[in-house]
Every structure is written in C-alpha cells, then in structure tokens.
Symmetry: C2
Subunit: 568 residues, 2 copies
C-alpha cells in the first residue's frame, strides 16, 4: 500500500481505537483519523456494571491502559499517531467520492473529510421499548459512561432504592448484581418464560434460584404496559400488576448502529448488522466495518449471527487493520461464547443451545453433569453444573454451558476451543488437561461430561431431565423414583415419594422392585444412579432410566426429613 | 465377550480400581479380582502434599469418593462388584497358562489364580539414589500414605524442623510448600542447573525467586555425596558443603514398576515403561497395562514418553476396560500437561519446551508475554507470565508454559486443547473464548501471546530474551537499553544503564538515539517496547530489538531510585 494512505475511522469506543492503533504500528506513515461522537474514548463498556457497584472505583480506570495512561485524544496522537476528533458526528458518507461530512459539536462547524479507506466502528445502540413513559426522568439504559453516572447518582442519593430492570438478558442480570451490592431492591421483568436466554432452561432455573436467594425478584412472562410517573418515574405497570420503584433500567437488548452504513448503500444482513467478509470488508471494498455494528458468522451453523462483545470487537479490529495495511488476515467467526458473574455464581456458555441445535437439524444428545471443580478432598472445591450438547451422528461437541460457584470460565474456554477444532466427545474425553488437586478433579469436569455423552450416544443408558421427571410426577404417572444414595444423604434431603435402596444393597434387593413399572434412578449427581440402572438392566429390568444430574440439579421442591423432625 | 470372563487386576491405587469399576459397569457378570500389595486402596497419591500441610485434614478424605464413601474392599465388593484382596502380593505371572501366583501377607498362604484377562496397574516406584546413608531413619520418599504419615509425625514432634529435599522436580517442589506451611525450613538440592525441569529457564527463574522470597533455600548444580547420621539422619553432605537437618525427603523421580511385566516377557520400552498399543494392550494380547507403569505416546513427537500422572491413569483405565469388554476405544497419547501450586504461584505447562522442540527439528519461535489474567481495571486481576513456543514453518503451537499468581491452569488447558487439535497460532488468536471483566482481559492472555507469535513469525520485529540481554550487558557490549515507560514507572524500578524516552516522546526525540548502535527497547511488558521498535524502524534505525517480556520478566538486578533516595 502507499505510505500516504488516509484512513478514517468512525467510532472511538472499542473496535475503532484498536483499528487505529494497529494501523499506526503496521503503516507508521499512514494518516489516521478517528472520529467519535461522544466525549469519551476507548472505554471498557463491559466494565460499567463494576463501576456502578463500586468494584471499579474510578471512571478513569475504565479508560486507562493497563499501565494507567488515560486514553484521551492526546494519548492517541502522541503514542499511537492517531488524530482523534471527539464530540464530532459524521453526518453522511459519500462512498463514491470517498468523503465524509462531519459536524463538530464544539465549534458547530461542518466540514468534509476525504478518505482512502473508511472504517465503521459505530457500535450498537440500546433498543428503546415503545412503552409509555420510557422517556421519563430516571429511566436509564446502560451503555455509556454517562448512563452509569446517572445510575450511580441515584444510588448515592440516600437510602436503599427500589429498581425495576426491564429485560432479563445479560446486561440486565449483570447490572442486577451491581445494584444489589449497592443495597438496591431489584425486580427484573422479562417478557419470555426464562431470563438469560443464552442458557438452556435446566441451568437458567438454578441461576434464578440463586438470584432469588440474594433477594432479587424475577417476574418472567410479564409484559411492561407503561412506565408511570409525572416527571420522574414512580412505578412500572405490567400485565401482572404495578411495581413501585425509584428508577428503571431498560435493558431489552441492543441493535447494531447501521444508520450511516445503510445511507451509504452498504449491505446489511438479516440480523441487522453490517455484512462483512472474513477480511471485515463491507460490500464497498474501500469501507471496512468492525465491532458491535457488524454481524458475524456462527462457526457451527455457518449462518450470520449478531453477538456484540468487546472481545470480538478487538479481534475484528486487528483483522481489519491487517487487511487495510496489505497483510492478509481473516476473522473466522464466533461461537457465542459468553460468561458473566451473577453474585456467587459464574455463568457461561459456548456453541449451540439444545433447542437451537435441534432447529439446525442435529441429532442432539444432551446431558447434565454436576461435580466439584477441584479434587473433592481439596478444600475450596466448588460445584459446577454442566450441560453438554453433542451430535449423535458425528459425535461432535455442539454446545457447552456451565453455571455455579466453581471455575466455569475454564471449562467454557476449553469447550470453545474444542468446538472450534470440530472435536468429537471421544477426543475431548482424552484431552491431556493439566491436573493437580488445587485445580481440577483427576478427570476434569469437561472430560467427565464428554464420557457421559459417549455413554449416551453408545446407548449405555436412557435418561430423563429433572423437568421430564417432574412432569411425570405432576401427571401422576405410575413410576418408581429410586434414590440409591446412602441413608445419611437421603435423610438430609429427598424427593417426595422417592424410595431408597442404597447402591451397595441394590444387587441383593432387586427383587423388592417391580419389573413392570418405569424405574427412574438417581443419586447426588447420578453416577451411582447410572450404576444402579446398569445393575437393574442386567437383572432383567427393561424400563429403567437415569435422572440426569441427580438430586443436586433437581430444582423443584425437596423434603428435608431431619429438619421436619426437629420442628415437629 | 463371554459373560463369565475372569479379569484379574494387579494394583489398587489409581488405574487399577478405575479399570475394575468400569468393567463391572460394562460387564456386570464378569468376575473381577483386584490384588493390592499395600493396605490402602484407591487413594489420591497426588493429594499427599496437601495431607502433609494439613490442607487435607484426614487421611480418609484421600480414600473417599466424592460423597464420602471410603473405598475399602467392602465398598468395592458391594458397590462395584469387584473382589479385592489387599496385603497380597503377586509373585509371578505365567502368561502362557494365564495364571498368577500370589502370596497373602496376612495368612502367609501362597496360591494360584487363573485369568482370562490380566491388567497390570503396578504403578511407579521412587528412584532411590545410590547415596551413602539413604537408608538412615528419617530419610523419606513421598509416594504412599505411610510416607506421608512418617513425615507428618516428624513435623508434629515439636519445634520447626530443618528439612533437606533431594531433587527439585515436581514432587520436591510440591512437598516444599507443604513443609513450609508447617513451619519447616526447607533446602532443595538439585543436581541440574535448574529446578522444575518441566519449565523453560526463563520461567523457572521466577519460580525460584518466589520460593526464595518464601524462605526456601535452593541449591542447584549441587550433588549429594552422603546422608550423614548414626541411626537418624543429621545432615546432608554435598559437593558444596554440609547441610544440617532433622529429616530428608528423597524426591529424585519415579520409575515404572515393571518387575512382573519383565518377568512375564512383556515388551518394555526405552523410557522404562511397559509398551502398550492405543488399546492399552501389552505385547501379550491377554494382558493390558495402565497408569504409571506404562509409557505413553507424546502427541507432538509421536515418540514414547514416560509422564506418570493420575489424570492419565484414569483415562487409560477407562480405555482398557472398554477394550476388555469388547467396546473399541483408544488412548491417543499425552502432551505432558502439568500444573502445580508453589506458594502463591500457579505453575503449568503443556507440549514441548523450547529446547525439546529444537531437538525435534522444529524451526522454533518463542516469546515471553506477561499480563494480568483479568481486565486490568478489575480488582483482583493477577499476573501471569507466559512462554509460548511455536513452529515457524507450520505456524502450529508446540508448547505453552505459564506461571504466576493468576489463573494459569485455564490457559494451559486451552493450549493443551489447541495443541491436540494441531491449531496454528493464527487460529488460536481468533478463538472465541468467553470474556467478562472478572474472568479475563478482552483479549485473553493466550490470544495475545498467539498474536505476538504471529508478529514474530511474520518478521514484524526481532527480540531478545532477558537472558540474552543480560549476557550482552555482562560482556560489556556497546548497546542502548531503551526504556520507553513513563518517568513514574522508571523511577520505581529500572535496569542499570538503561535510558528513558517515554513512548509518547519517542517520535520527536528519535534524533537523540545513535543509529550505529544496537538498540534494545522494552517497557513494562514490552508492548510499548514493540511499538517503539516499529517507530525506530520507520525512522531509519536498522539494528533494533525488543526485549521479550519487558521489565516485568527481568529476573536480574534492578535499581530502585526512589528507595535509594529515601535511604540516602
């Protein structure tokens, strides 16, 4: 490329500054201009919940490099050789003449800037639900530092606050913890039957239980009808009643900001994001686009998807910069890998959920596997609940979700790497992961889950999810719920109408069980439940199933005989 | 297979019980006999250091299942349908007649047991160095629960103890922390120039500094000449002097226990381990072998290697059981993935070290990359020092090592998965790992390291390790050590004779630097050092190198101007 190339970047939050910095390294003599509408540059949007909670104390920390340099226009110019204009908006793009028209909000001047290559890093915008009262004072979204300051000001203004969050997605849940840590009483209103749609319902229900235990109220299948108040918000009216509150956070999702892209005639995909090729080039070869304004390719379905994340923006920025500077580079796509902290739970996922995998036509095998994240004898071992989704035909891993107080992120990252490499559950089961008691069980949780998947695919046993078992109970089906734990465990907590035959006694007591009924075996995590099913099968029982995940993952009512005894 | 098959397993610690349990699930009607020479069954040998330190309080915890059932012979019989004979030794194997001859240490009876399939899980034995005094009282190895009890008894017997550990390998280092936590003063004696041979020296040196800061004395290139004492040990005599001590732990390594295998005429490999195929079958098709007594295949070199680990033993046990029961299964091999806790450091590695990769003929590119393990603004972010080893030709990841207080194990497991999948550094750089501030930087440490590798492979810059730079300084070479950090950072700690030009001033101050000398740039982690090298290169400087890992990974003397000032 010519050394005098002029590159103009629109958007200064995450992907834009990345592109600029990288280009300045690759083409030190290029003229690089970055235009940002807002005041703040290159800040960590994903850090906003932690700024609200006070975990991150100073706004500046979100705008600093790792060594504490504030990334302001002077920093970008001196260190990165990038000319930055903030508080300046791009009014239009003339792709034919390779020019943009801008308005400077400080001087109110309008001017024209030419480019050789244009980079759109215009990000995403919060969806504003079309609800009466949405413009009232103290109804916030959570995207900018100004949003976070507004919410902090509310919390700082004396006394515990009642807050309604509209939307139980990732942003809504992340900010819930921040608010609760500041003493607020939070109610989440979600239109769908479940919060955290990134998770399958068997795991989401446990996250809900955990949040409820922390005092959060969660109202699913509830629709907001109006936000009430004269000037300031005073309540949220739903189809299931009115909820009084001091302020509201609207977190119903974000949409790619493609106003300029559309006006410039660039191709925009069905997901709403700008269409780019693997080089991050739009339908105009002189215009690249990166970050939350573009759609990505799902590595598993090979279909476009919209998963706005700071990690993806960074990678795309690097790829775009390389290609702009004549170094071929490709961004292959995403798996929707996500992690978030929800009080004492870590919550993560990658790949396809069960429903999505079925929609895509896979022959789905799924399983639940709870286990401690370290050698069980090592103090501080914490539980992880895993759901693994695989394809029966190819035996490939399709999806992996995990929640719990244990080290969830490690297993998600291994699963994401394995899915990217198109690994089968057989290959995963033999991965040489590192082991020592302070770090993992001798068979890591993900290897154990892969082995369960192999057993299921190979038809070693049949299983039911806790949901499916619960449904049978509700319907009054004539089943035997066979708990094979120890009497001590049984006395701590049991499922109603379950019967106990400890695994060690099962071989000699098989005759006590009816051969004509469906028997559902389980234990704490259903490893012994699985062994019990095998023993019954070899003793001639034909209708035996294992309840996935055992009593640990049973989210419904349990009976606590010991407690009852003490009370009565 | 026939339902009456008789399977005899020799060895009851890790792999043996795994094989037995798994066979009993797959073939419920098989007769399964397990023979163990010692008293204890199925215990977590890797937990012994934590039993010594008191982190694991009760010996029984090491022998329990996750739900607290002690794995004794009754447990195995009732729950697993495995007949267990402990305190019984196998005297010989007659592979032709498919019989073993055993001696019962309780009844002193000798008898013959026939088998259809024999499984050797005879483990490994500590190497006993041929040193005078090695048999003195209070000279321990660390392999069995009895060993751990002996060491605990010494520590419990009043006052802080002086302990000499012979051997600075994994076991020696793991037990060091345990002893130090019990108040002991530990000296490690290592024959080689470095402890922890699993690590490359650039990382090992930082582990040594950390251990020394915790009061551990480490004497490398030191040979034990004799262990002194009349009945009990009193000192260890080395080629560099005498070290008085209360007890000694000999931890110079383990060797596969192949006495029976050799006597039975089974093939044993050059590493000393029993040769097995991917089905874990020995050279006799009726005899399988698993765990620490066999050699594995290194997935990268495809050569046999001996890496005894509990995690590997478990996987091999499953594979052997599957094949014994007629389900085809394969154990592909290992990467030498290892992790251990060394005080506040986590230490891990997988794949090939740099020297080994070079020996194998790879065109090696390596790099050092230090960075926090979480978003830098998130409190509790901790450092990780990474060394990455890749192949210039294929661009494949060959090895990955990491140390530091941060979450090392996560990155090792991702690297192990990527190496298994034969991923290139380009593929790794675009992995969709999960990101949120409490879990990782937006660009995870392993992705950043992969990007540095890409830059190096693509010839974006040349680099030197801290060792190489130090050598130039010692030799008095006429170099310019260019520190491009901020004045504040420079004043906290700097390298002797380095000069400071903060990165932001470099463009306008390039004329201050000599074009005819070798310039070595660096910063805290050498990202700014890299940018500085690019600026100098584009300003016409031809002899510019970046010091890998920056001042953070500089293990040699530093000058602390501020401190000096205060003192003088």
């Amino acid at each position: 490329m010519s050394q005098k190339k002029k590159i103009v970047i629109i958007g200064g939050v995450a992907a834009g500054p990345k592109v600029g910095s990288k280009i300045s390294r690759l083409c030190p003599d290029a003229e690089i201009i970055l235009i940002e509408k807002g005041t703040f540059l290159s800040y960590a949007g994903c850090g906003l919940p932690y700024y609200i909670s006070g975990v991150v104390e100073d706004q500046k920390e979100l705008m600093c490099t790792a060594i504490g340099a504030v990334r302001d226009p002077i920093f970008f110019h001196e260190v990165k050789n990038v000319k930055v204009f903030n508080k300046m908006e791009v009014i239009s793009v003339n792709a034919k003449l390779k020019k943009i028209f801008v308005k400077d909000y400080e001087t109110l001047e309008e001017k024209e800037i030419s480019y050789d290559t244009l980079v759109l890093a215009t990000g995403a915008r919060p969806v504003i639900p079309p609800v009466e009262g949405i413009k009232l004072k103290n109804v916030f979204t959570l995207q900018t530092i100004e949003d976070a300051e507004g919410i902090k000001a509310m919390l700082d203004d004396g006394g515990a606050k009642d807050v309604v969050i509209i939307g139980g997605g990732l942003i809504g849940v992340e900010v819930t913890e921040a608010l609760a840590e500041r003493g607020a009483r939070v109610t989440i209103i979600e239109r769908l039957p479940q919060i955290l749609p990134m998770l399958d319902k068997e795991l989401a229900v446990h996250v809900v239980r955990h949040m409820e235990a922390k005092g959060v109220k969660i109202k699913t299948q509830t629709t907001v009808q109006a936000i009430e108040g004269s000037e300031e918000v005073s309540a949220v009216m739903t189809d299931k009643g009115r909820i009084a509150c001091d302020f509201v956070i609207s977190a119903v999702g974000v949409r790619p900001n493609t106003v300029l892209a559309k006006e410039s005639g660039l191709k925009v995909g069905k997901t709403g994001g700008i269409t780019v090729n693997e080089q991050m080039q739009t339908s105009d070869p002189n215009i690249f686009a990166v970050g939350d304004c573009v759609e990505s390719i799902d590595l598993l379905t090979e279909k476009p998807c919209f998963v706005p994340l700071g990690s993806t923006a960074n990678k795309q920025g690097r790829v775009a910069a390389n290609n702009i500077c004549g170094r071929h580079d490709s961004f292959p796509g995403v798996l929707g890998s996500t992690v978030c902290k929800v009080f004492d739970f870590n919550v993560g996922r990658t790949g396809l959920g069960e429903a999505q995998a079925k929609e895509e036509g896979f022959d789905v095998v799924s399983l639940l596997s709870p286990a401690p994240d370290k050698a069980h004898f090592y103090p501080g071992a914490k539980l992880i609940f895993i759901k693994l989704i695989a394809d029966r035909q190819s035996r490939r891993l399709l999806g992996f979700q995990a929640i719990g107080p244990g080290a969830v992120d490690k297993r998600i990252d291994v699963a994401a790497t394995a899915i990217t490499a198109k690994m089968t559950v057989d290959q995963i089961a033999n991965l040489d992961l590192c082991y020592a008691p302070p770090y993992s069980p001798a068979m890591d949780n993900i290897l154990t889950a892969a082995n369960i998947a192999r057993n299921k695919i190979d038809g070693m046993y049949e299983s039911l999810t806790p949901d499916e078992v619960y449904e049978k109970i509700i319907k009054g089906e004539d089943i035997v719920l066979l708990d094979v734990r120890s009497p001590e465990e049984y006395n701590e907590a049991k499922i109603k109408d379950s019967i106990l035959v400890p695994l060690g006694q099962l071989r000699r007591r098989v005759d006590e069980l009816p051969k004509d009924k469906e028997i559902i075996t389980f234990c704490k995590i259903s490893l012994r439940g699985y062994e019990a099913a095998l023993i019954l099968k070899s003793a001639g029982f034909s209708n035996v199933k294992v309840m996935d995940g055992g009593i640990l993952m049973w989210p419904f009512e349990k009976i606590f005989p010991k407690v009852t005894k003490t009370v009565s």
